[in-house]
Subunit: 362 residues, 2 copies
């Protein structure tokens, strides 16, 4: 199931519980971004019990409780954080507030699962890293464009199977639909949303790190622009960056708010090209333009073959079950903490180092 | 008509003469690269008469004369250059020799039409620019991946018609098939082929300049690698670069020699994505992977619609007729000299400034 707007993108998968009913309880706090629904769907399908919901904005809370009718409406964040049965807090607060929520969650002795972008400054990153190091708690991140997209999951499986040899480069294109009338005021304030390379870009950085298998990297170059939205002077409507990874591979990504109305069935024509020594993969994640195909189209060309896979409703989203088990067993199979933070770090650095293409600074 | 290997890519179009028979005579000198066949096809289809052919390598000359049976086999370059009926010399010599040939052609009072890359150093560029400025002769370039590709021509027409608004960014992906056994020794010597960003990359730089409508630009970053061909230590098997254009638009391109065998029907999965304020265009130039489509597939998504165009054998190659008329009328409708040189300049600079990703320098 998909909707037009990225902010409401909330995949629904199949139920595949990894734990007995009641064995893993979580809560949702910070309900601004529609991603919270995808985060909760994923965890519930994997067997988690959603006990509480809370947001200081009653409208967000009402809306959320309608969609998850079995959830208890908390009267305060404290009511949730002080419940010892809750192991994990999922949150999709305003971007600039996600770190502070995470620190409160970790201080309460729980694991945190935040919408991306998880962090918008190096200071926030340092605080989050320190909290995790001190407590052993998790600051997990919903990099949905990989963990909640079936082509993205399948691409990782193909690479692990050696389908394209050693990965040399990843190109990730992340166009999005702005729909400004649906966005709150803070969404256009750079100190709050973090800039396009930090915000949307964190998806792409994470994918580059994941598919190349790199542990670290540097931002070779990065650019931002506000090409066509002078009414929102702090909006970056375009950004791109090149990364050089510690293993010699490289990555390029572009993010923008220029999805045209004719795209219709998707919030953006998200594509990922993964080049290996022995082949390449193209993901057409949400739409295969000019066709009637649904989401989940993946193309593999290697030394032996050229294949079009339709993986919609076939691959599922193993991340969520892995995350639950990681919380229970203190393992890191869903995603390592280092990886989650490294993607944030490089996104923040790309944003900080970006040159402005347009409007030209006088 | 296409063949597997880029070096033999020689499109055949329809005959559309722009001049009376015999009104425009040219010759082919420097026959190394199969591109010479495409260059001659294009000019002949546009009404030009191919009078002479010459190459110091008799094998190249034999091969060429078989394909163009009406051509006269010259005994020396001088025999061609001293023929006053010849107005234009088309050449696809070894890359490092193309400038010297051009200077001799221009000194002989004729226009020059060279395969890309036209130049491999700033010194060559300066000499060519000076020769053109001094004589008014042309140093025209066969940037075939735009001028001899129907989706590329059609994309230009769509943009001129306003189909995607103002162009903000171009991403050009140019994977190629190495087929090392078919390549001469000099092809793997960097001082002779010029490096991948200068060589293949010149196609992509030209497209970025053309579609953005920019007159100038800077190389923001560029990278090269030899990821998987240690037997050819001077080969760049990968390169990419980001350009910032003088009008605020930007461009990214990747070139590589990693076309896998499974691609079969094309030398590479050449793609161009052109992002505008009101839509985008994707070119799938030579193959539409996972389908039975032929070459020439273009996708347009804008505010109104989402369309798949099959333009194979529908658009043609107006560049060649325009070039003939430009030579006769001393106009610049096919391509301005400034544009041809600027694409070369930025390609050379991208190569000169490139950092090496792999193998890592110790």
């Amino acid at each position: 199931m998909q909707e037009m707007h990225g902010m409401r993108y909330a995949p629904v998968g199949r139920s595949a519980p990894v734990v007995e009913p009641g064995a893993f309880t979580f809560a949702a706090v910070g309900l601004y971004h529609g991603h919270i629904r995808g985060m909760c769907n994923g965890l519930i399908e994997a067997g988690a019990r959603l006990k509480w919901a809370y947001d200081p904005n009653p409208a967000y809370l009402d809306d959320f409780c309608k969609q998850f009718p079995n959830v208890q409406r908390a009267r305060s964040e404290d009511e949730v954080l002080s419940d010892p049965s809750v192991r994990l807090i999922a949150g999709a607060d305003e971007t600039h507030l996600r770190c502070a929520l995470g620190l409160r969650v970790i201080d309460a002795g729980k694991d945190y699962f935040t919408d991306k972008a998880p962090l918008i400054s190096l200071e926030q990153l340092e605080a989050a890293r320190a909290a995790c190091a001190r407590t052993g708690r998790k600051y997990a991140v919903y990099y949905s464009e990989r963990v909640h997209v079936e082509t993205a999951v399948f691409a990782g499986q193909l690479i692990a199977d050696g389908a394209i040899g050693r990965v040399l480069q990843v190109i990730a294109l992340g166009p999005h639909n702005l729909s400004p009338a649906m966005r709150p005021k803070w969404f256009f304030e750079k100190a709050k949303y973090g800039g396009i390379l930090c915000d949307i870009g964190s998806h792409n950085v994470e994918q580059i790190l994941y598919y190349t298998g790199a542990k670290d990297g540097t931002v070779v170059s990065s650019q931002i622009a506000n090409y066509n939205h002078p009414e929102y002077p702090e909006l970056d409507d375009f950004g791109d960056a090149t990364l050089a990874l510690d293993n010699g591979a490289t990555g390029y990504f572009r993010v923008d708010w220029f999805t045209p109305a004719g795209l219709k069935r998707a919030f953006g024509d998200g594509r990922v090209f993964i080049l290996g020594t022995d082949g390449y993969i193209e993901q057409r994640k949400y739409i295969n333009i000019g066709t009637e195909d649904g989401p989940g189209q993946l193309y593999l060309v290697n030394q032996d073959q050229q294949v079009h896979y339709d993986v919609h409703n076939k691959v599922g989203y193993p991340f969520f079950g892995q995350l639950i088990l990681d919380c229970l067993n203190r393992t890191e199979n869903a995603m390592t903490q280092d990886h989650a933070f490294k993607a944030a770090e490089l996104s923040i650095k790309a944003q900080m180092q970006a040159t402005t293409l347009y409007p030209k600074e006088s």
